[in-house]
């Protein structure tokens, strides 16, 4: 029983990890928390839903199109909204991201209404390994999330683009002096954010139903995961997401399952009181 719950928690954590990495990358490079992350996830899920259920494309192809589509969307959003506000305060940017969130979420609501939709995915019998029940969706989720994390790791560690990204995150002025084009780096960052978030949207849509609040219901948890790992730290975001996934799932043994987000909220509150820099973060406490 416990092992099953922990396994489910790990899978939930995998879904949370992708937007948490996206959030933490944006925070590292642009220095603002992107409150539109939930709405972006919803947009990704609906893009895949359009391809899958309306155009009758297979789910994998739909997910790929959604990833490209969402990447393009967020690059455009950055061009129109965040880029004119680039030099303004963090507060301005985070309020603007909330505005973006309202627009994206309600475009989905306008087009598809409030009713819950689902993907047309083949139903596969779940497997039983050592007394654990494992769904096909869970395997897909784990594989996709691991591939996403690995890709981000390789990009950040072993490509010139990743090195430039880390340089911009670390010290934008110094990076500019070394001839790194910040706007190009930012554009690539949004592409990565779009792909990761769209993947998470499809996985979340498989896990739950697709409705306009799909992403919104993950926002607090995703932020909690990123803060837990120390904002700006991708590896921390993954660990934070897995921890929260397991904690949220196991908490359902003692408290009603609809209180999952409450668990995340208290996780942030307690963490901020005890260890404000996050589990892996460096000290960035205000003096």
């Amino acid at each position: 029983m416990i092992a099953q719950v922990v396994l489910n928690g790990f899978i939930t954590g995998m879904i949370i990890a992708l937007p948490a990495i996206a959030l933490t990358l944006t925070y590292g490079i642009l220095k603002f928390p992107n409150f539109a992350i939930g709405a972006m996830l919803t947009a990704g899920a609906y893009l895949a839903f359009i391809c899958n259920s309306i155009l009758q494309l297979p789910l994998l192809l739909s997910a790929a199109i959604a990833a490209v589509g969402l990447a393009a969307t967020v690059v455009i959003v950055d061009r129109l909204v965040f880029s004119p506000l680039r030099e303004r305060t963090t507060i301005t940017l985070l309020v603007a991201s909330m505005g973006v969130s309202f627009v994206l979420e309600n475009m989905a609501r306008f087009a598809f209404g409030n009713s819950a939709r689902s993907f047309e995915a083949p139903i596969v019998r779940s497997m039983h390994i050592m007394g654990l029940r494992i769904n096909f969706e869970q395997i897909v989720t784990a594989a996709t999330a691991l591939a996403g994390m690995l890709a981000v790791y390789v990009i950040l560690r072993h490509t010139p683009l990743g090195r430039a990204m880390r340089a911009v995150a670390d010290n934008p002025a110094l990076a500019a002096v070394r001839g790194i084009d910040r706007e190009r780096i930012v554009r690539w960052m949004w592409v990565i954010v779009g792909v990761l978030t769209a993947a998470a949207g499809v996985l979340a849509g498989l896990d739950r139903a697709i409705d306009p609040l799909l992403g919104w219901n993950y926002v607090v948890t995703v932020f909690a995961a990123a803060i837990l790992g120390g904002l700006g730290n991708p590896l921390g975001a993954v660990l934070g997401a897995l921890t929260l996934g397991v904690v949220e799932e196991t908490s359902t043994l003692v408290i009603p399952p609809n209180y999952r987000q409450v668990v995340s909220f208290f996780a942030i509150a307690i963490l901020l009181l005890l260890r404000p820099q996050g589990l892996l973060g460096t000290v960035r406490v205000k003096k």
């Binding site: 928390p33 985070l94 309202f102 609501r109 209404g113 607090v220």
Partner: protein
């Protein structure tokens, strides 16, 4: 038609109270509160429960204000060691917690059915047909009182210190201001005002349920504050009134545009608010009216005891 006008004016008044609160928290102190809807719900449910228990509507308002002040203060206190983005996520999370509690704890909040039959203040003073007018008059008095108190607060040493913290907290603390306490206090006062707004919302509708407290409340309050000009309470009066009239007025569109259903109209409204927010932030971040500023010239005029110059400068400040 008069009844409809009165209804709209009552909603405008409640929106203005919410806006005044956010203008204090975000406009004056630079502390983002994404949990507006949650704190508003907390105030409404607190007032409803107190009033339903028979303790009286005034007690309901006081309890709502105190609970919201306490929770806002506590939220600000948790994030005090960190920068403002953490406060934003904490308030958002708190709002979600309140939403889930109102939905799930049916024994206390009636779940999704809500709490009906909330008593109204001053009920029985006038005939039932005229009651809404009396309610509106009461609300206008409350709005004016809050407005005056906040105007005094903004011009007080406390208001100046809080704005100094917003602009640069390092400088403020170097000058010996207790940055933490200033922020917590200001956020708590804002919370109290949200609680009052929640109480009047509950009393006006006589029932509360979770669907009344959706994200749109947070959205239009931010829109009202930014349109009116952050930090300017006078601008906020216009901002909140305009936004509320647009939101309420757009309900008539349903009769004209029949292709769109209610959900679609609601989503268009939120899309427009989102776009408005972004456009204001990009093109007119100062809003319609400017924030009150104490100018050195007005200080000089004050010391020179020249009544005419003083009035002149005062007008300049106000504009």
């Amino acid at each position: 038609m008069t009844a409809y006008l009165v209804t709209i004016l009552i909603l405008v008044c409640i929106a203005i109270i919410l806006g005044l609160a956010l203008n204090l928290q975000w406009g004056l102190c630079g502390m983002v509160n994404f949990g507006m809807a949650g704190f508003f719900a907390l105030g409404a449910y607190a007032a409803a429960l107190v009033a339903l228990s028979g303790a009286g509507t005034l007690a309901g308002i006081v309890v709502a204000a105190l609970i919201c002040a306490a929770t806002c203060g506590a939220t600000a206190l948790v994030s005090l060691r960190l920068s403002d983005e953490y406060l934003a996520i904490l308030t958002l999370g708190f709002g979600e917690v309140i939403r889930l509690v109102t939905l799930s704890e049916s024994w206390l909040t009636g779940g999704s059915l809500g709490l009906p039959g909330i008593p109204r203040p001053l009920w029985g003073w006038v005939s039932e047909q005229n009651y809404e007018l009396l309610f509106l008059a009461l609300l206008v008095v409350v709005v004016l009182a809050l407005f005056l108190v906040l105007e005094v607060l903004i011009r007080s040493p406390f208001g100046r210190a809080v704005r100094a913290v917003r602009e640069d907290d390092t400088v403020a603390s170097t000058l010996g201001k207790n940055v933490t306490m200033l922020r917590v206090k200001a956020f708590a006062v804002g919370g109290a005002i949200i609680g009052i707004a929640g109480a009047f919302h509950a009393y006006y509708l006589t029932y509360v349920d979770p669907s009344q407290f959706s994200a749109i409340i947070t959205a239009y309050t931010f829109m009202a504050v930014i349109a009116g000009g952050r930090g300017s309470n006078k601008g906020l009066l216009f901002g909140a009134a305009t936004i509320m009239c647009l939101i309420e007025g757009s309900r008539f569109l349903k009769d004209i545009v029949q292709v769109l259903d209610a959900t679609q109209l609601a989503s268009i409204r939120l899309i427009l608010i989102g776009l408005g927010l972004i456009l204001f932030l990009i093109y007119r971040p100062q809003g319609f009216l400017l924030e009150y500023r104490l100018r050195s010239s007005s200080l000089l005029a004050r010391s020179s005891l020249n009544g005419a110059t003083r009035m002149h400068d005062f007008k300049q400040e106000a504009s």
